[in-house]
Symmetry: C2
Subunit: 329 residues, 2 copies
Amino acid sequence: MANIQEVAKQAGVSIATVSRVLNNTSKVSEKTRFKVEKAIQELNYAPSMLGRNLRNSESRLLLVLIHTFSNPYYTEIITGIEDYAIENNYNILLCETDDNLQREDIFLNMVRNKLADGIISMNPTVHVDKLKELANSHSIVLCSDYYEDADIPYIAIDNTIAAYRAVKYLITMGNNKIGLINFNENLLYAKQRRIGFENALNEFQLPICDEWIHHSDGLTFQDGVEAMRRMLRSKNRPTAVFAISDTLAIGALKELHAQGIKVPQEMAIIGFDNIAFSSMTTPTLTTVSQPKYQMGYRSAKMVIDHIQGLTIENVIMDYELIIRESTLE
Amino acid sequence: MANIQEVAKQAGVSIATVSRVLNNTSKVSEKTRFKVEKAIQELNYAPSMLGRNLRNSESRLLLVLIHTFSNPYYTEIITGIEDYAIENNYNILLCETDDNLQREDIFLNMVRNKLADGIISMNPTVHVDKLKELANSHSIVLCSDYYEDADIPYIAIDNTIAAYRAVKYLITMGNNKIGLINFNENLLYAKQRRIGFENALNEFQLPICDEWIHHSDGLTFQDGVEAMRRMLRSKNRPTAVFAISDTLAIGALKELHAQGIKVPQEMAIIGFDNIAFSSMTTPTLTTVSQPKYQMGYRSAKMVIDHIQGLTIENVIMDYELIIRESTLE
DNA sequence: ATGAAAGCGCTAACAC
DNA sequence: GTGTTAGCGCTTTCAT
């Protein structure tokens, strides 16, 4: 592939002029521009990003850290990120860390290495200390989960209140035995949603029963199936269950169906995230919807603003309760 | 962030020596190595990929082109690609083209631009001529859909036979009125699956009825809902439907449920792809499973082999019929 | 074993 | 309006 030298030679001009034509950065005479463009055509030339980036010391690449592609929660957020990024001439590098510290290191190093200009992390299991240190000198934004007191800018919803509202809704629907399917509570959002859950029960003086609280090892459908299976082992069952993610809720729904337990008549289920599948289940799933696209879009804006030296502030977004069949009587 | 100069200065050696320590490329005395490593530590130095890549004229980045993140079909393939890539010191750049020619151009240019070393395209709507031309001088592999006579290496299953087997299975289950929900037949795989569908019907001398063949505009659940809705407008209904993707099949299932039509008793449904959600629906979905992880893994191997100058050959993978509730009586 | 220097492809400051 | 040139951070050849 031709380089700028060859184009210059072919057009009979200097490389500076070629660069000017390429970047439209100062006046070039019609005639010269024409010659250069002709040469570019003939040589099928495209400028090397590598050279350009090295010179400009920027890559216009954003790293997006996620735990695993298979979690459908991310898809809409990523679309939002990508839209803003593309609009602003950035591209995104989607990085799956998969709980692998080594892989994580590779990605974090890419921004120290100048291969990427900033990071949007949606990966709460990331090595916090490293991220914190990196955030001192680089542009990092956390999306949808964050760390308290870590001083890394974030965008998220108020999980405590959202969970509180969801559970309160279950209560107002007449449920007074309410269970929880949670994930690893080291994650802030999981902890917060549990607190919201407890706040609601406390407010209505309902029991918080350990038998009705189960933790899953992961966030796949199958994890939800297993959590519900464990919950159903006890004869004393809740009449409603709040699952911390739609994937878990959908798995739970499946297990209830397998055991012939009617939803919502015998047990109501509410999820969290409003993933696309949640309206395709039988019954359809009541859930808490985060403005995922907007969260992605704005987190991209945040990180790009930060790269360009602006100061940015944490953002708390609104959520919405989407009521569907799994909680209606 | 420090650069190689500063490290050299701090260690009291030349930049060449630092580079040698970094890359372990020739003998360096213990003492010098130690000094350099100390300086690297102190300055918290990490080499710039940009400089390195420019020098080596490689980026060790692979582009993965997909149509949209929201299609769950891709997730497992991408995991396979990523595993092989990481094992071989490559990273992947996941690119969503979204039918946008301009966006597509950006991505294709990245490989001409030396920002990426190769492309795995799973995006059948990509501008074929451009891709073909690019494939002459760069490393490109098509995964799961391909172009006939385009001479671009690919990995895929035999869609015609897979579809044939799926439909034949419906026939042997006693169905003789079989419908099809297809997608845009400009896509090779859609065309091939239709041919397989017709081959099976022809073999058993069953009618191919236009009323029972519907095309959707997209591959979302909603598209499946709408396709089934259209099919149900005619009184004369098929007793089984082959949907070209699980997403469409799941949408169809949803619409059948909404209209109170029992699956599989009144209508059997079979999908294609075995996405994770297909075992979570009610009823669970019979489907054709492609070895998605392996297809990803091997396509990454193919493109990296090609980058490294090896000759590569097209690969046809096996598929598997996964029988679940949506076709059982 | 180590250093000096060229050069990867590009942009921008400076000179004309 | 256009050309010359330095330099972005690195690797590698050639000396020593």
